[in-house]
Symmetry: C2
Amino acid sequence: MEELHAVQWHDGKVRILDQTKLPEELVLLEISDYYAVVDAIKSLAVRGAPAIGIAAAFGVVLSVWNADEVDRAAFIESVNKAIEELKSTRPTAKNLFGALERMRKVLSQNLSRPLREIKSALLRTAQSILNEDLENCKKIGEMGAALLPVRANILTHCNAGLLATGGHGTALGIVRTAIEKGKKIKVYVDETRPLLQGARLTTFELLEDGIDVTLITDSMAAFVMQKGLINVVIVGADRIARNGDVANKIGTYGLAVLAKEHKIPFVVAAPLSTFDPDIASGDHIIIEERHPDEVRKIGDRFIAPEDVEVLNPAFDVTPHHLISAIVSERGVIKFPNENALTEWLK
Amino acid sequence: MEELHAVQWHDGKVRILDQTKLPEELVLLEISDYYAVVDAIKSLAVRGAPAIGIAAAFGVVLSVWNADEVDRAAFIESVNKAIEELKSTRPTAKNLFGALERMRKVLSQNLSRPLREIKSALLRTAQSILNEDLENCKKIGEMGAALLPVRANILTHCNAGLLATGGHGTALGIVRTAIEKGKKIKVYVDETRPLLQGARLTTFELLEDGIDVTLITDSMAAFVMQKGLINVVIVGADRIARNGDVANKIGTYGLAVLAKEHKIPFVVAAPLSTFDPDIASGDHIIIEERHPDEVRKIGDRFIAPEDVEVLNPAFDVTPHHLISAIVSERGVIKFPNENALTEWLK
């Protein structure tokens, strides 16, 4: 299953596994225009904070890959335009802005070189963003797995797996590494309404790997905790503020409250590219509000009156005091707060 | 909208509004055989603890309504058989067992009377169960509404409305009465996966009455509380133990924990027919486990791998210490516990 990739560069094109079609169909999008990457991010064909960053970086490459122009100004304009458009696709995940900033720096550092070489530098950087993310997930897996007992029942939310990253996964990377190390892991996964990333994606990638997974609705998380079925909650993140507040898929905050009530450790797994030291707390994180039909419909079918008012925030913010540990490639930070994080991010 | 009824007796038949078809289609089932009532309860065409009790009572009437037999033993056998089959439809709602027990008593008290008169007595009793439930909901509405401030944002779960009762509703009865009294009420409703009673039924009946309603996914409840959008949580109940523990739709317990965290009152609205003084605590309430495909599918469409393992408890138990008040037709019991409830139920 590790042959599956959310995003890959292949032969001058970006290959994106269309996650809106999973688990029913395995559709690979072969993309040669950057604006199709814009669409893929907006439509959630590719989702998950690290994977969005990776896709955007390759999108920047595409914006000039097939350009034959020798006009340097037009070339630079194309790259900058792509960066701006990719930046406006989704507001919450830090990784998107980090990846695009890195691409912009590569451009500005190579401005005087031949255009062909700039293209190569951009591609190498995008590829590095992907490769580093995969490596980081493996490190997160190592460090997270070390925290787990020999047998653990893990509750996770949404999809923080290989489908959300360069590979291996963050929360699910911990699951995979723990199993590689011989630990006995059972995963419970919330279906994660409205877009069902848990039901569609997490179950899919865990079943492909033969990992013990049980699907529940979001409303059953409290029940499984109350019944003593869960030892630890592990989730990913879309942005982590300087004080350790975590923005992640809607529903995460509720899980953190429930974990506290049941004295269950609540662990966040995320690469450093998800950290945003410029933001003092979760209060300043922009929460994307998505289309109400995502709640009114499932697939093409309305499951509620078509005109009912709806709230549809895609993320929520878990305050740091509810978080037992954040696991990144640099290590584990227990009971995160501003002092600890500032020290640690130096 | 109060012309809509979950269950009615009409011209020798039981009319059940098929709630599996709402809100897309308004289908009235005209039922003349008790086993079709059994099916309607099992399939959730009729649901909601009080409405199930009402439907079952009319089901008992149907078991002999069209019988021409003069054999008293066969007649009694038919009634008892229907009672047994109706009893085994669903295990959690107390009202079902209470209504059937009442029908059995009416039978035994009238055993020596002409069969025609026994039929009439059974029908009168079933009709009383319905009428009393409607009256009780109105009293619950009065007493619950008095607890609310002049402006209140209420979060509710599942459907504890007129579709779940003899009319008016329990939790939604409080909403309706508060509005009649001029209070300004906004309702947030969880969609209530897996079977979406909130999205399909609560939104439907509130919109029909022109009541301000906003639909959210179950995973957004913590978010709206965190944002200060909710003043009180009001839910119904399927069974209330002697100590005040409440079995209700899966997801209720999690809401109670979240309400505590946010210092939001958590109110349960239920008629006395939902109370079960024979059960010491929620630990002894049987929780129905339903078919895994209710989670794997929405409508006819699989939204998860078809073979993924699933938990599907239909209810959970909220311990009494999380409950601010229970509102019944007899009054309001604040901070319920065994002593208070025993005294109060005398």
